[in-house]
């Protein structure tokens, strides 16, 4: 007994030492780093380490106290086994944390003035485990603080208390004001504007606005090293327990500390939305397994069936062979074990050795009883123990035992490539390391297109694909142009929406350099507008055929003589409505496209240059949908007979026509 205690002591001691080392490292990093985000990250690690140290210290304290208590002789308790029974532990996972903000409308719609930014993160504590989420920078353009992390605590008891703490730190540039002497600071604050001065003053008095969180630690405290640099303050906290566990999203109230005067203040709505799931071990692990003889009540007393029974979750599964358990074979017999089940050990069976255990369940109106027979008394006893333990676990974990809640650990994946919202296509070009850089870019793209073709089995091709059906030769002197259009935000599903466009484009642009091999769609897709040769010659495809893949023909070049004006207006006139693709066509290209087109100095360019960032915002979609509905384009001269189906044509019989993307925007996800 003492040995195990000592082991645990030294365990904790090791953890404390580890955390102290981490904390020292973080302090050093904080002192050394110059960049703001580095400093914020280092400060976050510092906060996490400090909290962990406090938690371990308090646990150590508690253990020492328990040891002292144990030495005092306890009165013997003759209570039954139920009193000493401990419920099984389980996994508790919290994910999709979202904290809504409530900006004043004056703040939210302000266009000028500097952006007041805060860096926030959450500390989650359950038992002895403390985890932190990633840090998120929050400013007035955000409506919610979202943390994507899934945090899993592996050994939680049913009476757990999960403490969620939200820390924030003001992320202004003049942070170094912390080291300004007080007199100078007050002079500065009075001479600066009121709000800026308030912030400065608050930044210099961290203690005034909030208690430094210590996670409710015990008396003994190590002095938290004070380091210059950003410091996090507790902004809000809440505690979750078993009653909050559910297999869906729920909203919980937050207790907010701090007030408007604090530098780290954020206008929280006062609640937090998250998914809290729990998987008790009794639901995921085999609680008991062994060979039994089973017979159903009402059957011939001689027909005992020998089975390998496994007690897990809400049933006792009986397999014919032990190997079947791992082989995922369906059990021969499944007996439900839940709160309603009644289990009794009966008198010694006169016919055989061992005792009988009877399990009764109510299915609908009738009661079904199964009888188990074990080899020996010890077996019977251990099975009964297992059943009692199982019932106890289920009574403790309550709603978690009704059904298994899913807990997913996010699969480790490489961080999403940072795609700049605005930028030249030089930046958007992606060349994988596997590509042989000695080959020309067009070869790389050709390979990519083949991949895309293979992958594109689903989805519709955007109807503006028809624009590229025609491929007429064009001069190679055309300056390099972006050949892959992009619809911002559609990247996840783009490959199968660009089946034939992709093969066409690179071959039209033999010049290496500015070709984007990433097939995702963004809204500066006007490359197609600009380079499509004779879009006006195409008939508007029928709704049904618009969903079919268009054939691609390689090595066609576009004539550069066609004016951009005509192409742009043609495409606008088509009134796109289907898929996100349509949004791009209705937009004049972004300025990023201008970079590769120094030679094409036509009037549309000036129009284009005013367009800066194109993102799939709601304004975009509304403009595209209004285009599709209004179809107000002057170029009726274009050959494509774009005709909006008259109200008479819309009949319930043809759902496909009704789902015509021209009328109603649809997106494939």
């Amino acid at each position: 007994m003492n040995n195990s205690k000592n082991l645990r002591d030294s365990d904790i001691q090791k953890k404390i030492d580890h955390e102290i080392r981490m904390r020292d490292g973080a302090c050093k990093l904080l002192a050394a780093c110059s960049q703001r985000d580095q400093a914020l990250e280092a400060a976050k690690s510092l906060q996490t380490c400090s909290t962990r140290i406090m938690a371990y210290m308090s646990e150590l304290q508690r253990m020492k106290e328990a040891q002292v208590m144990q030495n005092v002789p306890r009165r013997s308790s003759d209570a039954g086994p139920m009193d000493d029974r401990l419920p099984c532990k389980g996994k508790v996972a919290i994910s999709d944390l979202r904290i809504p903000l409530m900006w004043k409308d004056t703040e939210y719609f302000k266009n000028k003035g500097e952006l007041h930014r805060c860096a926030v993160f959450c500390l989650l504590q359950l038992g002895g485990e403390i985890f932190d989420t990633d840090m998120v920078i929050v400013d007035r353009t955000l409506t919610d603080i979202c943390f994507d992390n899934t945090i899993v605590f592996s050994e939680a008891s049913p009476g757990f208390e999960l403490r969620v703490e939200l820390y924030s730190c003001c992320s202004e540039d003049d942070y170094s004001a912390g080291s300004t002497p007080r007199k100078l600071a007050s002079k500065l604050s009075s001479s600066l504007g009121r709000s800026a001065g308030k912030k400065l003053r608050a930044a210099m008095e961290p203690g005034a606005c909030s208690p430094v969180s210590n996670g409710g630690a015990a008396p003994l405290l190590l002095p938290v090293p004070s380091v210059p640099g950003p410091k996090y303050h507790l902004l809000a906290h809440t505690t979750l327990s078993l009653s909050h566990v559910q297999d869906s999203f729920r909203t919980h109230d937050l207790t907010i500390s701090g007030n408007e005067e604090c530098s780290y203040w954020l206008p929280l709505y006062g609640s937090m939305c998250c998914r809290l799931a729990a998987q008790p071990h009794c639901m995921t692990r085999q609680m008991m397994a062994g060979w039994l003889k089973v017979k159903q009540c009402g059957g011939d007393p001689k027909t005992w069936t020998k089975v390998y029974a496994v007690l897990k979750a809400t049933s006792l599964s009986c397999y014919q062979r032990q190997e079947d358990v791992d082989a995922n074979v369906e059990p021969a017999l499944t007996i439900g074990i839940n709160k309603e089940t009644r289990i009794r050990a009966s008198e010694k069976d006169p016919h055989g050795k061992g005792q009988n255990i009877s399990i009764s369940n109510r299915y609908g109106g009738e009661e079904v009883t199964h009888t188990l027979n074990t080899e020996s008394r010890e077996d019977t006893h251990s099975w009964m123990e297992a059943f009692w333990q199982h019932f106890y676990d289920m009574s403790q974990w309550k709603q978690c035992c009704d059904d298994l809640m899913k807990i997913e650990l996010p699969s480790p994946r490489k961080p999403a490539p940072v795609t700049p919202k605005q930028g030249s296509l030089y930046h958007e070009m992606v060349i994988e390391s596997s590509d042989d850089l000695s080959s020309t870019v067009s070869d790389i793209l050709a390979r990519r297109m083949q991949e895309l073709e293979l992958r594109s089995q689903l989805g519709t091709s955007p109807t503006w694909m028809s624009v590229f059906e025609e491929n007429s030769p064009k001069s190679t002197g055309f300056p390099v142009r972006p050949c892959t259009s992009r619809l911002s935000g559609h990247s996840p599903h783009s490959p199968h929406r660009l089946p034939s466009r992709s093969p066409v484009s690179p071959h039209r642009c033999p010049q290496p350099g500015l070709l984007s091999s990433d097939a995702s769609l963004t809204s500066d897709s006007d490359s197609h507008c600009s380079t499509s040769p004779c879009s006006h010659r195409h008939d508007w495809p029928e709704p049904s055929s618009s969903f079919s893949l268009l054939s691609s023909s390689p090595s066609r070049l576009r004539p550069r003589t066609l004016s951009l004006d005509a192409k742009l207006s043609t495409l606008r006139g088509r009134g796109y409505g289907g898929g996100g693709a349509f949004q791009c066509s209705c937009q004049p290209p972004s300025s990023s496209l201008l970079a590769p087109h120094p030679a094409s100095s036509r009037s549309p360019l000036s129009q284009r240059s005013t367009q800066t960032t194109l993102s799939c915002s709601s304004s975009t979609s509304s403009s595209s949908s209004s285009n599709s509905e209004g179809s107000h384009s002057p170029e009726s001269s274009e050959g494509g007979p774009f005709s909006r189906p008259s109200p008479a044509r819309r009949s319930l019989r043809n759902l496909r026509a009704r789902l015509d993307p021209r009328n109603w925007l649809q997106s494939h996800v």
């Binding site: 297999d247 869906s248 999203f249 992958r455």
Partner: protein
């Protein structure tokens, strides 16, 4: 399934959990959505009330993750991973469904048959 301004929206919902399917670099769900507060609700062939600007499922890829999970054409999506879908633009809805860092989407959907099923069950148990 329409809404009266100022009154809470209530509906009988079903929970559907869709595991995204990885196709190369992308995660797909296998269905299409239509609708949104910035779209014309009159064009929605699935909505009972033609002023309903909610997000509806317009197409299901056969055998895709959505069909496997139980999503059906014509379903109205009320919530995605906790985010409300009854009062969002089309693009906001699409974005909530296509987050790259999420492998699973948990939807709350409603459909006419659900409402009817509840109504029938209520009818046979008059104590309700």
């Amino acid at each position: 399934m329409s809404f009266v301004p100022g009154q809470p929206v209530t509906a009988v919902v079903q929970r559907i959990e869709i595991q995204k399917l990885r196709q190369g670099e992308n995660l797909i769900l296998g269905f299409s959505i239509g609708g949104g507060i910035d779209q014309d609700p009159g064009q929605n062939p699935f909505s009972e009330d033609k002023s309903d600007k909610g997000i509806y499922v317009t197409r299901i890829t056969p055998g895709g993750p959505a069909e496997v999970a139980g999503l059906r054409i014509g379903d109205k999506i009320m919530q995605v991973n906790g985010w409300d879908m009854t009062m969002v633009t089309h693009d906001q809805a699409r974005k909530k469904l296509t987050k790259k860092r999420e492998d699973v989407v948990r939807l709350l959907i409603t459909r006419k048959s659900l409402e009817e099923a509840v109504k029938h069950s209520k009818g046979s148990h008059p104590r309700q």
